[in-house]
């Protein structure tokens, strides 16, 4: 009888915390820097107690200055440290745009490999938490256009551990996006042992034959829930959790579309120029004649972000019922 390897049930936020803790234990070169990561232990208490254990030299409470949080991490990475920079909320990442896009992403390329930038930028993103205009945005589409970056959008505690370990190990800069609604909502078993999940590898969370649904983050959970509901109606939906948006697992998407012949992309970021636009263009280029229905994208509306008032947030976010409805319509097309 096989003995199950030891594991613990934890939430997404606990998975971030325990993975960071292990990384700091494992490697003296790892440092965390950001706003309120030390004394406060991060606004979600992810790094609570770290400063006592690892010291203020490695758990750095920075001034409120996002461009230099990232910029200083770039310099640390160029000179041999393994910085894990935190942007307190993804909405605050804009001042650091040049340091991420113009500097971190280009360090290896512009020096032709002489200097590299092995660093992680972690940030909580996404809505459904009454975060209003400036504590709820999705930022992946602003960055996934950029060669030189890797962008991870994990949805489960296990994926967080495996992908955060991979990101910290990665010799190139990784933007690690944590959906804050999933922080305490999602709970699952996580192996105790060290492991990585390759960046750029999607996860097929449910196999199916009549429709491919591609999603990530919070909506990876809701789309799976919707697809399960449809099983009771004898509708068979394949659900892909992308886990990374750059590099993106094109083979997983194409293989699935060649099997189901229909594609629905669901994401919280707004539709125009979003990740779904790239996926639909790629499928149209590579597998148009496999399709039995037009590609559909179910995305949040083209407004800057969800409002603070509950009706405004509810109107912005996509309910599981709406996802199920859309899936039904596509299967029956």
């Amino acid at each position: 009888m096989a003995v199950a390897s030891p594991s613990k049930v934890m939430t997404n936020v606990e998975a971030v915390r325990s993975t960071l803790y292990d990384a700091l234990k494992r490697d003296d070169k790892a440092v965390i820097l950001g706003e309120d990561v030390g004394n406060r232990g991060n606004v979600f208490l992810i790094t609570k107690g770290f400063i006592e254990e690892f010291g203020p030299e490695r758990i750095i409470d920075t001034p409120i200055a996002e461009a230099s949080i990232v910029g200083i991490a770039v310099g640390m990475a160029m000179e041999g440290l393994r910085p894990i920079a935190e942007i307190q909320f993804a909405d605050f990442i804009y001042p650091a745009f040049n340091q991420i896009v113009g500097e971190a992403a280009k360090t290896r390329y512009r020096s032709n490999g002489e200097y590299t930038c092995p660093m992680v930028i972690r940030t909580p993103y996404g809505g459904g938490v009454r975060g209003a205009l400036s504590h709820s945005v999705s930022v992946e589409a602003l960055f996934y256009h950029v060669p030189g970056l890797k962008i991870v959008v994990p949805s489960t505690p296990r994926d967080i551990k495996g992908l955060l370990n991979a990101a910290i190990e990665d010799p190139d800069p990784v933007l690690f996006l944590e959906h804050k609604r999933t922080y305490r909502l999602i709970k699952d078993d996580v192996p105790d042992e060290y492991f990585t999940i390759p960046i750029g590898k999607a996860n097929i969370t449910q196999e199916g034959t009549q429709l491919t649904v591609v999603s990530y983050g919070l909506y990876a959970h809701q789309s799976l829930e919707a697809a399960r509901k449809l099983q009771d109606e004898n509708l068979s939906v394949e659900v892909i959790d992308l886990r990374s948006v750059r590099p993106m697992d094109r083979n997983a998407i194409l293989d699935s579309v060649r099997k189901t012949h229909k594609l629905l992309i669901i994401h919280e970021d707004n539709k125009f120029g979003g990740v779904g636009a790239e996926i639909s263009a790629m499928v149209a280029e590579e597998a148009l004649f496999e399709l039995d229905a037009p590609i559909r994208r179910l995305c949040c509306p083209d407004v800057p972000a969800m409002g603070y008032a509950l009706p405004l947030e509810e109107e912005y976010m996509i309910s599981t019922d709406r996802m199920a409805e859309e899936m039904r319509a596509m299967v029956r097309f």
Binding site: P63, G75, N112, E114, P171
Partner: protein, 345 residues
């Protein structure tokens, strides 16, 4: 030192050499000559239609040769900007490497990817940087943090920038962070009084960058950036302070950009010839030559021999670099990520 620079007959008695040997003084002078020669070469090659672009650092010879003399090769880290030809050459970047950058050849450190003057060399501790002003300042601070965290005493970072860069937010953020953590770093402003076409008075409310040091709780100091020895002294003291764990400094040398911003700029459109000529009269290269001769550190024939030698070296580097191959088209695709990756196209 200003006294030595402005004096004539009495100069021999008053030359403050800050402990530098005759050989070191001659090395500073040679660096200044080499900068001038290499700088001119970039513009010549552009006017000959051989290269699409060059940037000049003429007028920065003294500040860069002096600063380079205070840099400890093999220990310190330099985070330069794109007008630092003399600093690069002064810390060990060779004329051939400069010409490879100008010609964008495959053997260039960045394989012909970057604009000329965007030098980097891991070997001599010169960090890679982009054209985005002030973006390299936090990188330098991060490097200084790494040095401090590893308790590598006796090392410091020298980060350089022009007056224009000091308007950027990242410049402020970086000084503030370095001051909070008392990092081993020196912020050296090469104030050449122009940000392309924008003069100092349109860039800042008062013309002295070093005065901002007090606001960060740092020592600040200014010196004559046309004087290589005053520069050496200020940079050496600041670097020693940083290396010994006493924290950062903000120092500023005033110099002047004699040429247009680049080969694509024409400074006649925004500043008078009278202003440029007034500054030319203080050209640090012939002035330092005069001082060395007056103090019998150099004889006139030696000066001529040095000039011939840097011309020869520049010519040889030019011919050697020109004869080398460009990168190949396939080189566009390398060194984006480590290892193999599949471009999405």
């Amino acid at each position: 030192m200003a006294k030595a620079m402005t004096s004539t007959g009495e100069a021999a008695a008053t030359l403050e050499r800050y402990g530098l040997t005759d050989d070191q003084l001659r090395a500073i002078f040679r660096n200044m000559l080499l900068q001038r020669q290499l700088d001119n070469r970039g513009f010549q090659l552009n006017r000959q239609g051989k290269i699409p672009f060059a940037l000049g650092s003429e007028g920065h010879e003294a500040i860069q040769a002096g600063a380079a003399m205070a840099f400890k090769r093999g220990h310190d880290i330099l985070a330069p900007y794109y007008r630092d030809l003399g600093l690069a050459v002064g810390i060990g970047f060779t004329p051939l490497e400069v010409l490879l950058s100008l010609f964008a050849r495959a053997a260039d450190h960045n394989g012909g990817r970057q604009f000329p003057n965007h030098y980097s060399s891991r070997k001599i501790g010169m960090m890679s940087f982009s054209s985005i002003l002030a973006a390299q300042i936090p990188h330098a601070v991060g490097a200084a943090y790494a040095i401090a965290l590893r308790k590598e005493t006796g090392r410091a970072v020298l980060v350089t920038f022009g007056d224009g860069t000091t308007s950027e937010g990242e410049w402020h953020e970086s000084l503030n962070f370095a001051a909070v953590h008392k990092l081993p770093i020196v912020f050296l402003c090469e104030n050449n009084q122009w940000a392309i076409s924008t003069p100092l008075h349109q860039q800042m409310g008062q013309p002295h960058v070093y005065k901002r040091a007090e606001g960060y709780g740092l020592p600040g100091e200014s010196f004559n950036g046309f004087d290589p020895l005053a520069t050496y002294d200020a940079v050496r003291r600041a670097m020693e302070r940083a290396r010994s764990g006493s924290g950062p400094s903000l120092i500023e040398g005033t110099c002047y950009r004699f040429l247009s911003h680049s080969t694509d700029d024409d400074d006649r459109t925004y500043r008078t010839r009278e202003e440029v000529e007034k500054q030319r009269a203080m050209d640090p290269v012939p002035r330092f030559e005069k001082i060395l001769i007056e103090n019998s550190i150099l004889v006139a024939q030696d000066a001529d021999a040095l000039k011939k030698d840097v011309l020869r070296e520049t010519n040889e580097a030019t011919d050697a670099a020109e004869a080398m191959p460009f990168p190949e088209a396939k080189d566009l695709y390398t060194n984006l990520y480590e290892g193999a990756w599949e471009p999405w196209q």
